[in-house]
Amino acid sequence: MSDEGKPKVGFYVCHCGTNIAGTVNVDEVSDYVSGLPGVSVSRNYQFMCSEPGQDLIEQDIREQGLDRVVVAACSPMMHELTFRGAVGRTGLNPYLFQMVNVREHCAWIHSDPAAATGKAIALCNAAIERVVHQEPLFASEAPIYPDTMVIGAGIAGIQAALDLAQGGNQVYLVERDSTIGGNMARFDKTFPTLDCSSCILTPKMVSVAQTENVQILSMSDIEEVSGYAGNFRVRVRKRARYVTDACTSCQDCIAVCPVTVPSIFDMGMASRTAIHKTFPQAIPNSYLIEKDERPPCWSACPIGQEAAGYVALIGDGRFAEAAQLIRKSNPLPVVCGRVCYHPCEEQCNRGFVEEPIAIQHLKRFALDWEAQHNGEVKVPEPPVRHSEKVAIVGSGPAGLACAHNLAQRGYQSTVYEREEVLGGMLALGIPAYRLPREQLQQDIDFIRRMGVEFQTGVAFGRDVTLEQLRETGYGAIFVATGAHRGIAMHVPGEDLDGVVDAVQFLHNKALGESQPVGRKVAVIGGGNCGIDVARTILREGAEEVTVVYRRTRVEMPCEEHEAIDAETEGIRFLFLRAPVEVLGKDGKVTGLRVIEMELGEPDDTGRRRPIPIEGSEHDLGFDMVVASIGQRADLDYLEDDPGAGEMQLSPWGTLDVDAETFATNLPGVFAGGDAVSGPATVVAAMGAGKRAAEAIDKYLRGQPLEGFETHQVPAEIPRVEGRPHRYSKPYEEIERVPRTQMPKLEAETRIGGWDEVELGFTEEQAVAEAQRCLHCGVCVDCYQCVDACKPGAVDHSMKDEVDHLDVGQIMVSTGYKQFDPSVIPQYGYGRLENVITGLEFERMLSSTGPTDGKVLIDGEAPRSVAILHCVGSRDENYNRYCSRVCCMYALKFAHLVRERTEAEVYQFYIDMRAFGKGYEEFYTRIMDEGTTMVRGKVAEVIEAPEGSPGKLLVKAEDTLLGVRREVPVDLVILCPAMVPSDGSEELRQLLHLSQSADGFLLERHPKLDPIGTASDGIYIAGCAQGPKDIPDTVAQASAAASKMLGWMARGEMTIDPIKAEVQEELCGGCRVCNALCPYNAISWVEDKKVARVEEALCKGCGICVAACPASAIVGAGFTDQQIYAEIGGLLAV
């Protein structure tokens, strides 16, 4: 300020030719301002931004000793820096300057001179009031990271990366796709030169890949951008490729992959396998495996069986491979093929179409086929062998699975079994007509051949104690003793002769002990065990067997097909009855008193609760009653063996283990299966065994019990919405194919003996059923590629990688995608076969495309072709803008159609735009070649009537001739608008960039800075900014790169001094600001109990300034004082 402490303000209002002065009376403005207090100079001038205009300011500052300057001219976005420069050159602080926008915000938007002038005066008055409160601020220089990032690796990104690399620093070229090249890689020829697109693109792709300081990050997404111009930190997620750099592109994997999906690169006109390379010249030059949301059958399986994998292999006729794959993660494959309750089928996505795939039957088929054709299956060699041994108590599914998995991990184990037969419930509970003993034996033999030892007839707790096992030298013990004890009915008469327990009955039967059966038998309970015992008793010679169940058929916990089989065999069902007493005479059963039930509200399990109907008791005559209402763990050994007795129990009377690690409270002792969970399923027990094996491995290796890899069923099965995977049609559009039914033994033959009821699929049935699979996940985990890959490049365990990259500047070149013309119904795209898009036609033209470059429809060359311009562009309903390239590529298409076929070509256009270098000449050339031009927008494309010379009829009005035309053609090519590419909106928000009305990224200035953005350090190029052709795209990319190189050479960026600062003496320590700052720039100074702004992190938004209740935070450049003064000044006139 001047000597007297009073400010001396200089004021200048610009005419901007007539731009301002044409509407605003600039004389009146400067006159008005000259009368304001503190104003020493007030002038108006033709062009303030011109050199003489700036000189005027500088001169006044020097000669008149001005200490504040206000310029009323255009938007500060245009010339704030210009005038700050002028002020600064005189030695005055450049922030003692304020700009008033009387052009964009006033002269240009008002037509009434008086109103405009009045408003201009108010705005200027506000600035004068404000400027006296402005204080000197000092911009700082911050070093910039020399590395740069280019997002989007189409031709723009490639060009920019190549140019930037010249600077010698690291360039990160980030691409969402698996290959660089963008849309240009899809083109066949380029206009107007008609040179081959890949011939000019591929060398650039190779060269960028070979440039040492360019790092290509393909399959990568930007997740977060923090920091500021010159100092950005970008979090990039590189999605797993599942194929390493060792890939030699030999294609061996393609031959074995059983899954095909439409190729997006070929616009869905061709298909590709799940393991693939996008196109032959793709870079990075390695394959990748596409994995969508994992198949639900796999997610739902407690042992993580790759069901989709073996189903796909069976569908492909590769039965041996299917069986091999099943064995990989399934310790009891043969058993599972017969008795697994297949939770996979419940979750099968095919269920959304009609019925789930018969996954379990297919598994059985593969194993049966293997047994018939392959002889003895080779036992896999573990990768390492460990010296520690493990004892396993119980040979049921949990114990066997654990032994199997430990053997795979290189541990030798011994399984102790109380009974003389192996298999636990598999042998003792499941009747042979469901699981023939020799089938079970196959699985046990296989595990034995893996090196597992078995000791039968050794009861844990009695014959061998925990302590003895430890002393024998077992490093760990897995307790899987199952749930072998039946639950009593708790009704009077239960002790009568003729009342038996189902578990015990099946047990005795399996062990060959003779036991009497009645004539008329009641089985209480509708679980699997109840059905098993009923069917067993029927086979044992009972005349009539009735299953009594307290709810109805739908609530029965047994598997549906079991109930149906039982019924076919003659078992009767009595629903909604519960036993209240077993009736007897002379100590023998004579009948059952039952009460009728009705169903009430659903209980915790979701099944409706049965409620007894009072007074409905009645008696039924039976001579044998079998209780099958549940099982529980038989833990007598805890009493027999004080060592084992130290194991903790859960409130449900089962062994208590850590849910994650299956560890009991005793060191080195793990437990799982029914003894822990209570009675569950075979496959759940196996899952527990597998998981426990991993825990035991970690335990024996001295590792912490965490980071488990064994699959566990998630609470919610993840799946893609509405379709099995992203390339598939939605469920409603998938053709229905009924599920193949399992052939079964005739009912009469069944009950006569113990033959297996289910006969298994034939090869034809299996293949047909397997081909119903929708290949959820795209990759179905069949692992065939792993074996096929000679260099060993396939790695299905690869994980996404997240990187934090520090870069100084960023260029965005995310390109465009084609507008989806199916939203314009009258053009028939997606509905009429021979209506295709420009990019589809490009692929047809390409020698590496689906037709090897031939123009074919239904295998024949078209006789006539219509090309429709401006589809979705220049159209009020879709996009108002012109997509700029369509006219030219439409002409290119005309040329290529005529070059490759005899077809007549019709172009339907609105206006012909040939603005680029050589474009008009190209247009003339194509005209000379003889293309029929029809000026007019097409109204409709329809199927041609019978007998028409074309397949389609194009209806349009020829606006030059003023006639309606109906042109029969064989092929219609649409030229759809260019729209911003997928994901560009998310990226825009991450980078805080603006978009223009057309949805493309907004440049800093439409003419003077088309590649800059409002954010310093971030540039845009190519179609991300708006539709454009290749030459313009490349030019923008190079321009952006050279701007970036300029900053890199300078090495520093100016940091705006507009920042917040806490006045510690005013800060009350309320910490409101801490939480509000979007940049975590406000820290808490504990000893002073005040907040502090970290200058480097602050971006100057002023959110904290507004929020501070004590007004303790000052926002430099926009202080409260300045804004209040501005408000006052603005409203004073």
């Binding site: 938007s75 500060p76 976005m77 926008n101 052009r103 964009e104 915000h105 006033c106 240009w108 938007i109 008002h110 037509s111 009434d112 008086a114 109103a115 405009a116 009045g118 408003k119 108010a122 705005l123 506000a126 928000q989 805080h992 603006s994 978009q995 223009s996 009305a997 907004l1002 409002a1014 954010s1015 507009i1058 509000l1076 979007p1078 940049y1079 971006k1099 100057g1100 938004c1101 002023g1102 959110i1103 300034v1105 507004a1106 929020a1107 926002g1115 926009f1118 409260d1120 804004i1123 209040y1124 501005e1126 408000i1127 006052g1128 603005l1130 409203l1131 004073a1132």
Partner: protein, 138 residues
């Protein structure tokens, strides 16, 4: 021009990145807008202190427009959400003082919405004219 002698004054607080640029675009595109709207530039709508609004009304403004970036687009991530919350609170307070809460208006105007800036300016002028001058007891 003043109709029935009433020439409203409306203060517009415009965020630098979206609304201010949107107003610039209205200018560049010569989209006629209401001269009653007098803009003040702030870096972010989150900078707008409720005090600014009340002071403006006290100092002779008949209406106040707050304009920021669309949700998700704030240059500083979420200043606009904060502004939204404050606006709701201020509207309540205004109501409590017997001031029609429509005198305060919040709009999301992107840098490409010059037409919206113009439209909002006219709507605001018309509404304020309907409400008449703001008369506060001194």
């Amino acid at each position: 021009m003043p109709e029935n002698g009433f020439n409203p004054k409306i203060v517009g607080f415009l965020c630098n990145w979206c609304a201010y640029s949107g107003a610039d675009l209205a200018g560049v595109s010569r989209i006629q807008s209401s001269p009653t709207l007098r803009p003040i530039r702030v870096m972010c709508s989150g900078r707008i202190d409720p005090g600014f609004v009340f002071t403006a009304l006290k100092s002779g403004a008949d209406g106040v427009l707050l304009a920021g970036c669309h949700p998700g687009d704030c240059h500083y991530s979420e200043g606009n959400y904060l502004c939204l919350r404050r606006t709701l609170m201020m509207k309540k307070l205004l109501g409590g003082f017997g001031i029609d809460e429509e005198r305060l208006r919040l709009e999301w105007i992107s840098a490409s919405e010059g037409d919206k800036y113009s439209k909002v300016s006219w709507e605001m002028e018309n509404r304020i004219r309907e409400l008449g001058p703001l008369e506060l007891k001194q």
